[in-house]
């Protein structure tokens, strides 16, 4: 039993009959939190796991972790979202997404470790949570509003603190219900979610989005416009003094010193270099402070503050991918306006980013007025704000070609009869499950293997930052790498407990056993520490330290220390990986019931047929020597990938023929019940 971290209960809401229920957190404590608890809840409460994501029985959860709302750095503010998605192609897997901000903290201050929503309301509603009190409110006045307006309206209704006065606000009449200066933390959907777009997201505050998976549409299908939480309760901490000490130790030894940085960008106002230094505000990488006075902005309890808040109030908090939504224009104001609109409409950049694909089809004479693919958007103005605004609104409102794109780029391409050709030529890069390419699937293989063996583009930057970006950025500036390839893989090897060859990206390395072990480690570490303990993937794992006396990262010693300080429970690094493996297997069981089979785990054709054409630095071991290679002209080999799959399945204890876990494997992790359900469905892996 934990003596800290949890606040004791998980909220279950059934929108069909308006019934709410408080599930004791203890029942699911063994899963740690976040994704682990969510998958266990899903397994217990969704009888038929083969249902469609739009089905009322689909269970969508917003989960916190023991770290939520505490001082554990870059782990306090993130919320894990799970449920059957609607985005992945060909099958919309049970999936996950995650958002930053402060929702998870506020949810715990309001008395809940998580929220699980099932059913479908008759008319639009929003869920209002104030200090343990849950009410289902009529959303008729909010339905139709964009994601920003919806939140502002709910702030008024719940009565958050006045915008700039920030006066104390009582949450109920009794003075012992406490007072707060904070606004309610609201997660809302926009028009895209209401219109059941498969690329609709959940937005919280400004720029915090749970986008991949299409959870906005899942909310929409439940007639759920928003969830608002605010509370004045406390989150218990097992060893407060230790938590404070650990936080300061990590911050003082590993964070960017804004007043006197050890490592600073060679060029001023260049976020690009922040990939290495991790300086505040580095994430909206293509945007600058120049001409836009701004501040860095961090999620609750974060010590990196990767976002920014601007003097025009446009695209506040938009860090990461959405800041690259539209690059055909180099006018930063226009770029920001486009991203701002994307947020307001509630669209997932990672799916709708493919407007350049449409422009290509337009240029090819395939798409346009009176063309094979009919569309009347102003494609000739593809580099003008007018175009991107028309395009974005069209998708959100299912107008013009948006009617097709609202079902996601993959399904749209299939409908147009172009999917096979264009994902083979690489004109449309959807390497796995219809998700747009993120990191090169042909060379950075933890990413592409992990994605195809999972449910979505994994989006975990912890390793990628070091193996790819450090040498890339340094090289582009004509500077030597901060650490040699050999030093780098040695450090990562020490931090992960895997052989250095696990980080060899050479033609041979990516198919070798150490790499397969590295991929497994990546899945297990992420499932527990990133997705279940809600640690931010841009800060964790902490593998290498460039600015310090040595290059030693904080992983793997500090994670279990934080866990101990907050929960009071002992958990070794090995045990944490084992727990991650258990969660990973539970997820896989759900996918298998949904139809997952070895035969499906194959990337899009271009990954095997179109060679890389731009430098992509990664450490490689060639002739016994570690170097950074540009990895040009690389493709993935189909046969070798099949062999990798076989060995990966064997390593995980799955049936090599099907990719299904065996009873022995599941039983060893205490998942007999899961084995039974798989057996009942005739989908239990055969023992080797």
């Amino acid at each position: 039993m934990a003596t800290g971290g949890y606040v004791g209960k998980i909220l279950y809401v059934n929108l069909t009959d308006g019934r709410t229920e408080e599930i004791p957190t203890e029942q699911y404590e063994q899963w740690g939190g976040g994704h682990g608890m969510a998958s266990a809840l899903f397994w217990d409460r969704v009888a038929d796991k083969t249902i469609d994501g739009f089905h009322p029985d689909n269970l969508v959860t917003l989960m916190t972790s023991p770290f939520s709302g505490t001082l554990v750095p870059s782990a306090s503010g993130r919320t894990e979202v799970t449920g059957i998605g609607v985005q992945a192609y060909p099958i919309a897997w049970y999936t996950r997404s995650n958002m930053g901000g402060r929702f998870s903290g506020e949810l715990k201050y309001a008395g809940f470790d998580g929220i699980a929503v099932q059913g479908r309301a008759e008319k639009p509603v929003w869920i209002n949570i104030v200090n343990n009190k849950v009410t289902i409110e009529d959303a008729s006045g909010i339905w139709g509003m964009d994601t920003h307006a919806s939140q502002e309206r709910i702030w008024e209704l719940v009565g958050g603190a006045d915008t700039n006065a920030g006066d104390w606000q009582a949450l109920s009449t009794g003075r012992d219900s406490g007072r707060t200066t904070q606004r309610p933390a609201v997660v809302a959907i926009g028009p895209a979610g209401e219109n059941l777009n498969r690329n609709a997201l959940l937005l919280h505050d400004a720029g915090n989005a749970a986008a991949q998976g299409g959870f906005g549409a899942v909310f929409g299908s439940k007639n759920l416009k928003a969830i608002s939480v605010i509370g004045t309760g406390s989150v218990p901490v097992a060893d407060p003094a230790l938590l404070m000490d650990l936080r300061l130790f990590l911050q003082e030894d590993y964070a960017y010193d804004v007043d006197d940085p050890i490592l600073e960008s060679p060029v001023p106002d260049m976020n690009f270099y922040g990939i290495i230094t991790r300086h505040p505000g580095a994430s909206p990488v293509l945007w600058q402070g120049a001409g836009h006075p701004n501040r860095p902005q961090g999620c609750l309890g974060c010590f990196r503050a990767c976002r920014r808040r601007w003097n025009n109030g446009i695209a506040n908090g938009d860090a990461c991918a959405e800041s690259c939504y539209w690059m055909a224009s180099t006018d930063q104001d226009d770029r920001m306006a486009a991203t701002h609109l994307l947020d307001q409409m509630g669209l997932n950049h990672y799916d709708v980013k493919n407007h350049d694909y449409l422009v290509a089809l337009y240029k090819m004479g395939i798409l346009g007025p009176g063309k094979q693919i009919e569309s009347n958007l102003p494609y000739e103005k593809y580099d003008k704000l007018e175009f991107i605004q028309a395009y974005t609104s069209a998708i959100a409102n299912r107008e013009d070609i948006g009617a097709d794109l609202a079902d996601g780029i993959a399904r749209a391409a299939v409908k147009w009869g172009r999917y096979d050709e264009d994902t083979t030529s690489g004109l449309l890069k959807l390497p796995n499950w219809g998700f747009s390419e993120h990191y090169d699937p042909r060379v950075e293989v933890e990413w592409s293997y992990g994605s195809i063996l999972g449910d979505r583009d994994i989006n975990e930057h912890g390793v990628n930052t070091h193996v790819h970006w450090m040498p890339t950025v340094q090289g582009m500036f004509g500077m030597a790498p901060l650490v040699s390839a050999e030093e780098l893989v040695t450090q990562i090897s020490n931090a992960t407990g895997l052989p250095p060859e696990g980080w060899d990206y050479s033609e041979e390395g990516i198919y070798a056993d150490p790499k397969i072990a590295a991929v497994a480690w990546h899945r297990h570490y992420s499932r527990f520490w990133i997705q279940s303990m809600s640690m931010c993937d841009t800060a964790w794992p902490n593998l290498v330290r460039y600015a310090g006396p040595d290059n030693v990262g904080a992983t793997p010693t500090v994670e279990p220390q934080f866990y101990k300080a907050v929960t009071g429970k002992d958990l070794s690094y090995e045990e944490s990986l084992e727990l991650g493996r258990k969660i990973w297997n539970l997820d896989r069981a759900i996918w298998i019931l949904q139809g997952r089979h070895r035969d499906l785990e194959v990337h899009a054709n271009y990954v095997y047929e179109v060679p890389t054409s731009a430098p992509y630095p990664l450490p490689v071991k060639e002739n016994g020597e570690w170097t950074y290679s540009t990895c040009l002209g690389r493709t993935l080999d189909r046969e070798k990938w099949e062999a990798v799959k076989t060995r990966f399945y064997e390593l995980e204890g799955w049936d090599a023929a099907t990719g299904w876990p065996t009873r022995a494997t599941l039983a060893a992790m205490g998942l007999e019940q899961v084995a039974d359900e798989l057996a009942a469905a005739g989908k239990l892996g055969a023992e080797a």
């Binding site: 260049m270 690009f272 690259c324 006018d331 930063q332 004509g478 731009a614 430098p615």
Partner: protein, 140 residues
């Protein structure tokens, strides 16, 4: 260049400039790789010369400044392909020659960009002059 003395580029004629800054077809596009940690390497298709300048040097055709524009990331383009594109697609041989000469002896990508930038700026200035002389408002 071999003698180390920089020769000014010959004046371009209007027809060539107009041809150079035209909207290109799909087959004529230039692939530029936008490198950023949020989305990895994104290949962006460029359909006109000004856009290429914008992307590669992160500046704006209408606001060409010697220092180049902002520093908001790196757009990588294969230099060989760039020069060939300028020569064949844009159709400006003198410019292409000057570009390939300018990068001699450089290796780091940013160094090559810095070497090519003045050549680009000089040529763009000439383009603008020609267009201005014929009282057009192509620029923007």
């Amino acid at each position: 260049m071999s003698d180390g003395i920089k020769k000014p580029l010959p004046e371009p004629d209007e027809a060539m400039v107009r041809h150079a800054i035209r909207e290109l077809d799909f087959a004529e596009r230039l692939e530029v790789h936008k490198m950023n940690p949020a989305t990895g390497n994104e290949s962006i298709s460029v359909y006109k010369f000004p856009a290429a300048v914008d992307l590669i040097f992160e500046t704006r055709w209408s606001q060409v400044s010697p220092q180049g524009g902002n520093h908001a990331g790196i757009a990588w383009v294969d230099l060989g392909r760039l020069v060939a594109w300028v020569r064949d697609t844009i159709g400006d041989t003198d410019f292409a020659d000057a570009l390939s000469a300018s990068t001699a002896g450089t290796s780091a990508y940013k160094a090559q960009m810095d070497a090519m930038r003045p050549v680009f700026m000089e040529r763009i200035a000439q383009y603008k002059a020609v267009l201005a002389a014929h009282d057009t408002s192509e620029a923007s």
